[in-house]
């Protein structure tokens, strides 16, 4: 009883106005709507301040920019939801691109190219999952180590040329038809798995309280494999998206991607540490917001470097507004 009161006191310390704010913030509709609202604000703002924000080229540009981060963020959503992090997805994606490029160059088959990329994505993510479930290394640690291993492999494979180029024509042909369809199908798949099957709910409950989930008969291992395999599927797909976007792979393909996906996810209204308030689409909303913001700021003449800083400031502001301020300092033992 005593400790109960104690914790209550802590969470209710700042009463009245801030309390009311908290109540509003915790309302599930407000909470769900906030990231959409933010995206809307960005769009309306730039729609009003720039000439041609709603032009087809600008919107396609935003979609093109967002699609890679969005796909990756959607793929990694189940992993985040379970309370795991994996920042190796960017480098893993680069490896998929390299394989796909080589397969295409040697066989000329687009189908083989796509299949190989997806297959490799699933294999790589399964390796990550095995390391954490079978060998007990914490998933976040696995991600950090594997990111560097995958990057080193990428550099070794690309060798002195530091890049592989594929035909621009093939890329262009896939961009308009295959890409949007594949993206939508993949999103629907994750969305359905997430909201309509036990997998999503179990993962969310597990991410919220692993002990309680285990006591409700939920098995960590199978859940985690499902999450990582779905992620692998997305990583493979993104490998193709990335390949056709630049018609090739370079030595920096995938760099910083893991971080940017985290950023997009958080901006989309979800904690990267999972749990009850997780969803499958936060990354998509976040990636669209980032892309729209980038495009808009560039259009009103802000330099690329400054755009990044502005993004950082907005990011911190949103996080601050949407997270609950603790009495003590937040901390999290990573390893």
């Amino acid at each position: 009883m005593h400790s109960n009161n104690f914790t209550k006191m802590r969470s209710m310390s700042g009463l009245s106005l801030s309390d009311k704010f908290a109540v509003i913030k915790n309302n599930r509709f407000v909470f769900t709507a906030l990231p959409f609202f933010l995206l809307l604000v960005v769009i309306v703002f730039f729609g009003a301040t720039t000439d041609n924000f709603f032009g087809a080229t600008v919107l396609t540009g935003i979609f093109n920019q967002a699609v890679i981060f969005a796909t990756l963020a959607i793929s990694v959503s189940l992993i985040y939801t379970a309370g795991n992090l994996d920042i190796s997805i960017g480098s893993a994606m680069a490896l998929c691109s390299i394989l796909a490029a080589n397969i295409y160059i040697s066989t000329g088959s687009v189908v083989l190219m796509i299949i190989s990329s997806i297959a490799l994505g699933i294999v790589l993510m399964s390796i990550n999952s095995t390391l954490s479930t079978v060998l007990n290394v914490k998933a976040a640690t696995v991600g950090i180590v594997m990111m560097q291993i995958y990057s080193a492999i990428r550099e070794t494979l690309l060798g002195n040329d530091a890049k592989i180029v594929v035909s621009y024509k093939m890329s262009e042909s896939l961009e308009s038809g295959f890409r949007p369809i594949a993206f939508i199908l993949f999103f629907l798949l994750v969305f359905i798995v997430y909201t309509k099957t036990p997998v999503g709910r179990k993962t969310r409950f597990y991410g919220g309280n692993a002990n309680a989930a285990i006591q409700a008969g939920i098995s960590k291992v199978s859940l985690q494999y499902i999450g990582f395999i779905i992620c692998g599927l997305g990583v493979g797909l993104t490998g193709i998206f990335s390949l056709i976007r630049t018609s090739g792979v370079t030595i920096t393909t995938g760099d910083g991607m893991g971080m940017n996906v985290m950023l997009a996810t958080v901006l989309g209204g979800m904690s990267i540490f999972g749990g009850a308030k997780s969803n499958s689409y936060a990354g998509l909303i976040g990636a669209l917001t980032v892309a729209a913001l980038n495009k808009g700021l560039l259009m009103i003449g802000v330099s690329a470097a400054i755009v990044q800083g502005v993004r950082g400031l907005i990011f911190l502001l949103i996080i601050y507004l949407s997270s609950e301020r603790q009495a003590t300092l937040p901390s999290r033992q990573q390893f």
């Binding site: 390391l131 291993i149 550099e155 800083g309 950082g312 990011f315 911190l316 300092l329 999290r332």
Partner: protein, 354 residues
């Protein structure tokens, strides 16, 4: 009396054992690499003074960075903006020092000052906003990269060919600086009131704050020390490479992950003697020797990285599974106990039956 003497003796042996465990790692690594290098390429690991210089240069930048990570890491704060703080410190502090016409030491000091200010900014933002440290790190990286990228005409920091920068690659200078860092940081973490408070906070934030420790100020201090060390690492790195080219797109935080390995080895080695700072030094020495050894064997940098990261993976697998081995031993002992207890039960039942 006898008892006391025996106890003293034992304490001495325990200490000796701990010391041996601590220094064993770099020695083992050195011997191993020496053998490998000699058999594979016919040359020793440290066959010339240039090798020693290279070793020390890698060592000092690794050591400073890993030490800085350790300021916050054990308290559950993984600072992803570390790399960006490094860029802030070096590019702003270093350029100011150069414009003032200062030499290597000036660059080092100014960078460390700006680095510590950057660290303090992150720390202050952290205690004010109370966002999870990793998430805050992402945001701060974006902002710091913008600043360090835009500053000084986007030129970064150029040390190559500048007057007075030679000291930064001088063997003696590096050794003295390393010694100063070991002493200073050991003092901060293990002997100052700040260090004692930090340890208490590490154990329990709530209790520490209930008993009057200012957890917020202590946290800012941690970030401040870390910032200075990140910048120091950056200066030595820049001196080694000649220049520090500014970056965008969060590529600055790659360093965080690279140097996490020596920090982890360090914490592990340091746990034998209860001094993480020494542990991290030993860890950095071992890793630097390992790297130089790999160069001597003839591996290029990518392959080196691959080997090092696989080693890290094995290390992590070992670290996460070693408690299990100990547990299995205990479990066996417990089973033996159970068997005896069961026999007693059976005997008692038989007795009752009769």
């Amino acid at each position: 009396m006898n008892n006391v003497a025996a106890k003293g003796h034992r304490a001495f042996y325990v200490k000796l054992k701990m010391l041996l465990q601590t220094v064993a790692l770099p020695i083992v690594v050195y011997i191993l690499m020496e053998i490998l290098a000699r058999t594979l390429s016919g040359k020793g690991v440290l066959s010339s003074s240039a090798d020693v210089k290279n070793l020390l240069r890698t060592l000092i930048l690794t050591f400073c960075f890993a030490l800085a990570l350790n300021a916050n890491f054990p308290l559950g704060r993984m600072d992803l903006s570390a790399g960006a703080q490094l860029y802030m410190g070096c590019i702003i502090g270093g350029n100011i020092a150069i414009q003032l016409g200062l030499g290597g030491t000036g660059v080092l000091i100014f960078s460390m000052i700006v680095g510590s200010i950057s660290g303090m900014v992150v720390g202050t933002a952290f205690v004010t906003l109370r966002i999870l440290p990793m998430v805050l790190g992402l945001g701060m990286t974006l902002i710091f990269e913008t600043i360090s990228f835009s500053a000084f005409n986007q030129q970064g920091l150029m040390l190559y060919g500048k007057k007075g920068m030679d000291v930064l690659s001088d063997t003696g200078y590096i050794l003295i600086f390393a010694a100063i860092m070991i002493i200073a940081v050991t003092y901060f973490f293990s002997f100052s009131t700040f260090g004692f408070r930090r340890k208490a906070i590490q154990g329990s934030q709530r209790l520490a704050s209930d008993f009057g420790i200012n957890i917020y100020w202590n946290c800012i201090q941690c970030y401040l020390i870390a910032g200075a060390l990140f910048a120091a690492s950056g200066v030595f790195k820049t001196a080694y490479q000649g220049a520090l080219i500014p970056v965008l797109g969060m590529s600055s935080n790659g360093a965080v992950f690279t140097y996490m390995f020596p920090m982890m080895i360090g914490i592990w080695v340091g746990s034998f003697t209860n001094s993480p700072v020494l542990g991290i030094f030993i860890g950095s020495v071992s890793l630097s020797i390992f790297r130089i050894g790999l160069t001597k064997i003839g591996l290029d940098e990518t392959w080196q990285s691959l080997v090092v990261f696989f080693l890290w993976l094995f290390f992590m697998v070992y670290r996460f599974n070693s408690p299990k081995i100990a547990y299995h031993k205990k479990r066996k002992a417990r089973i033996a106990e159970a068997i005896i207890a069961e026999q007693e039960l059976d005997a008692a039942l038989a007795g009752k039956g009769a």
